[in-house]
């Protein structure tokens, strides 16, 4: 009799097991669109066989475990690519913004240069004309406004980047905390021999998102906990403990630091990856470079026009006038050493409000020698600034209001150091007119109303290569090209990483994802199994009834 009872028992296990399997299939179907969900499948094992006389007969089936389909290699690849894709994609918007600001269409800065010189050219045909003079004043005003608009818009996009960083950092901290919690839960569950499938799915998705946003790298410890680190190796999550990243405000700038309990560690852009790295790259590399070159353009333009303008005379007899308000300071590029004689000697031309002074510098010369030679000459002071790691030469006008100064030190070439070239920080934001009445425009070198000689000289500046090998317009063109090249590269790269990320995710879903066809077939399979077990049970039941009728 034990045989039939055993068969009943085995039928029962089969019913239960198939039911369980259908539940799991239902779970898979329910999660067909859940992001990061990994297909689960029942691992069916037979119950241990018992000896019946000479035979070992199994005693049914059970769900040994519920397995989660998971490919470690693909998960790692996805995290890697997510980091790269995150970095490039976060740059898309700021770069598009920058591209719009440094435009090349109508109304761009290069157009303003053309219009400015056009106004002077028009003035040269009627130097005494009030209308033409008004046009020159207006164009001067407009080009200054154009410069400061570009500057302001760039500042604005920097602000936007900063607010993006602060808004994103909260999300990152939440994710870090959650990973720490999941770590504790997963190791506790798995230690007790249970499966933590959905927790692992959730954690995998968080880790992928962390990789996208800060480029976090991960490895799994033997306890099943995920150790999360920044690209520079600083720990973010260790077991159940997360170190938060804080945003620190200095002025309008936002910087990040990692806090370990009491102590903090500042994070620069090299410590980060993913989206944050991309935003930092634009904010700390791209934008400062563009602003710096814009300043140089504004500085070169204003000082050249001023120097030429100062030579002429206005209708009211004024001479030595600056056209644009001259920059307050003139700062050279940085040099590593201020006392080493790394410059060749030569003559430096210091032009103050149209009056040139030749300063001889002995051969060879150090930055200090050049400073000493210029200092005190023709109403200018020269000093050396040190801001690590560089020494810069600063020249200022001692007069109030400041006078226009141009310093041509190009003859000091030929030694280790390149000759000093000057610019003024943030000058593009401050380019405005110095004169405000038409009679002060120096169209001629004499007071005569028909004199156009100075206007003709200023016109020459349009084609002159005053900024290295560049005219004003071609220098602007180079700034626009740099931004354009970077934006084009970024778009291509973002597209490429996006493509490979999609490819990898498709591969992952192909292995770990839910396929409706597969689930439907499994459903059929388990349903048939269930039906068959039921039929088996009813057969055993009939057999038992048959046995029962024997005794009547």
């Amino acid at each position: 009799m034990g045989g039939l009872n055993a068969a009943l028992n085995s039928g029962r296990t089969s019913l239960q097991t198939n039911q369980k399997a259908i539940e799991i299939t239902g779970l898979n179907v329910a999660n067909v669109n859940t992001e990061g969900y990994s297909r689960q499948s029942p691992h069916l094992t037979p119950y241990p066989a018992l000896a019946f006389g000479d035979y070992f007969i199994g005693t049914g089936v059970t769900v040994g475990s519920i397995q989660r389909s998971h490919d470690v290699f693909l998960a790692g690849q996805i995290k890697d690519k997510a980091k790269e894709a995150g970095q490039e994609e976060s740059m898309l918007n700021p770069l598009a913004e920058l591209e719009r600001v440094i435009g090349i269409g109508e109304g761009s800065l290069s157009d303003e240069f053309d219009q400015f010189f056009d106004a002077w050219r028009q003035l040269s045909t009627n130097p005494g004309g009030e209308v033409e003079r008004q046009a020159v004043l207006q164009r001067g005003e407009l080009i200054g406004r154009s410069f400061s608009n570009i500057y302001k818009e760039i500042q604005q996009s920097e602000k936007n980047i900063n607010s993006t960083i602060t808004s994103k950092i909260d999300g990152v901290n939440l994710m870090l905390d959650e990973v720490a919690q999941l770590n504790t839960r997963i190791s506790a569950l798995e230690m007790s021999g249970q499966d933590a499938n959905s927790d692992r799915d959730r954690r995998d998705m968080l880790l992928k998102n962390l990789s996208t946003s800060i480029g976090a790298t991960t490895f799994e410890t033997s306890t099943g906990a995920a150790s999360v680190q920044l690209p520079n190796g600083m720990p973010l999550v260790e077991m159940g403990k997360a170190n938060n990243i804080n945003a620190v405000f200095s002025g309008t700038d936002v910087n990040l630091e990692l806090s370990f309990g009491d102590s903090t560690l500042p994070l620069d852009r090299n410590a980060l990856g993913g989206e944050f790295r991309g935003l930092y790259e634009v904010r700390d590399v791209m934008i400062p470079d563009v602003v710096d070159r814009l300043d140089q353009l504004a500085y070169g333009f204003a000082t050249e026009v001023n120097a030429m303008h100062a030579v002429g005379a206005g209708l009211d007899g004024s001479t030595g006038q600056s056209f644009f308000a001259p920059p307050g300071s003139h700062v050279s590029q940085g040099y590593a050493d201020d006392t080493a004689a790394n410059f060749a000697g030569g003559e430096v031309i210091v032009n103050v409000a149209g009056v040139e002074t030749l300063v001889t510098v002995g051969d060879p010369a150090s930055l200090e020698d050049i400073r000493a030679a210029i200092d005190g000459v023709a109403d200018v002071t020269a000093s050396i600034d040190f801001s690590a790691p560089d020494y810069t030469l600063r020249v200022e006008s001692t007069n109030d209001p400041k006078e226009n100064i141009t310093i041509d030190a190009s003859s000091l070439t030929g030694e280790t150091y390149a000759p000093p070239a000057f610019s003024s920080q943030d000058y593009s934001a401050n380019l405005r007119m110095s004169i405000d009445t038409t009679s002060k425009i120096a169209a001629g070198q004499t007071i005569a109303p028909g004199d156009n000689t100075n206007a003709l000289d200023i016109l020459q500046l349009e084609q002159q290569q005053t900024l290295g090998n560049d005219t004003f317009v071609s220098y602007y063109g180079k700034i626009a090209s740099t931004v354009g090249v970077e934006a084009a590269r970024n778009r291509q790269a973002a597209q490429g990483f996006q493509d490979s990320l999609i490819q990898l995710e498709n591969m992952r879903d192909g292995i770990d994802g839910v396929s409706l066809e597969e689930e439907m077939i499994n459903l059929l399979k388990y349903q048939r199994g269930f039906e068959a077990s039921a039929r088996f049970l009813s057969t055993v039941d009939e057999m038992m009834s048959t046995l029962m009728t024997l005794k009547r």
Binding site: N452, V483, I502
Partner: protein, 308 residues
């Protein structure tokens, strides 16, 4: 590997995104007619396009400058023509005075006409266009020629040249240059001192002629024939010089028009979209977008659920 519902839709989504992005780029190109809409469209084209735009803008202005110059030259030519006619008439009078045995009354009449002609010369040399004196050099707001204020008509004595109406030049001798092409300057003015007080002082000669008539002195008139011819030549020479400038301006103008067209072509090559090509590509993209959309629709109609 299986294709699941998620992978199929993900791929289709990304394809649709990309196609619609390309479509919108092409639409922008077709709408603006430009293939260079932002720096990243073609970073290498920026420099040539910007410099071409600068040149086109400058060419426009050069063409206007040339027109202004031509106006000036033509105006001047009108006045110079008047002066030349005056000089011819003066010479006729001088010849009449030296040939014929004229009565003192006739002499006085001629003297009067000479005086009138001097006034006419003075008016011509003080010609104004647009409120600016043509022959004053850079001093375009100052009357170039004026009779010495010390002159007193009542004290006029034909035998004493200090009482004659001396004409003084108050302008300057500056050359007014116009830039008519990059680095090409051309002088578009004639200053009064060159015109009237060069080798011969024209007004002085005319004063001498008047005095000679008033003194009834045919011999003196005879000696003035050569200086008069020389004075006429001086004006004629300036006129032909400016005629040449006018010719040069005309040639420069038509050259500048050609340069402008060339530069437009150059700019267009880098900046403008080939409309035919753009439209063709647009149609291609539209087709592939439609195909993608219809495939997406087809995918959702195909389901295992319909078969079990």
């Amino acid at each position: 590997m299986k294709a699941t519902q998620v992978t199929t839709y993900r791929s289709l989504q990304s394809f649709l995104d990309r196609t619609s992005d390309r479509l919108s780029t092409l639409q922008l190109q077709a709408a603006t007619g430009k293939k260079l809409n932002r720096p990243s469209d073609d970073p290498t084209a920026i420099s040539p396009v910007l410099s071409a735009r600068t040149q086109i803008q400058a060419s426009d202005r050069y063409i206007e400058t040339i027109d202004t110059g031509l106006d000036r030259i033509n105006n001047m030519d009108g006045y110079l023509d008047g002066m030349q006619n005056t000089m011819v008439r003066l010479k006729e009078i001088a010849i009449a005075g030296f040939n014929g045995a004229l009565s003192p009354a006739d002499m006085e009449t001629y003297a009067g006409e000479v005086s009138q002609l001097r006034e006419s010369l003075l008016a011509d040399t003080n010609a104004q266009v647009d409120g600016k004196y043509l022959f004053g050099g850079f001093s375009e707001k100052t009357v170039p020629f004026e009779v010495d204020p010390a002159y007193d008509p009542l004290a006029y004595d034909p035998t004493d040249d200090t009482t004659w109406p001396e004409v003084i030049y108050q302008g300057d001798s500056s050359v007014l240059d116009f830039e008519i092409a990059p680095n090409e300057l051309i002088s578009v003015n004639t200053t009064g001192d060159r015109l009237m007080q060069g080798n011969v002082d024209v007004f002085d000669t005319v004063n001498q002629l008047e005095a000679a008539f008033r003194n009834h002195d045919p011999d003196e008139i005879a000696t003035l024939l050569d200086p008069l011819e020389e004075a006429a030549n001086q004006i004629r020479a300036e006129r032909s010089l400016k005629g040449n400038v006018g010719r040069r301006l005309e040639i420069a103008g038509s050259q500048m028009e050609k340069i402008k067209i060339d530069m437009e072509e150059f700019r267009s090559r880098y900046e403008d979209a080939d409309i035919l090509e753009t439209i063709t590509q647009l149609q291609q993209q539209e087709q592939s977008f439609q195909a993608a959309l219809s495939v997406t629709g087809r995918v959702s109609s195909l389901s295992i659920l319909d078969y079990i």
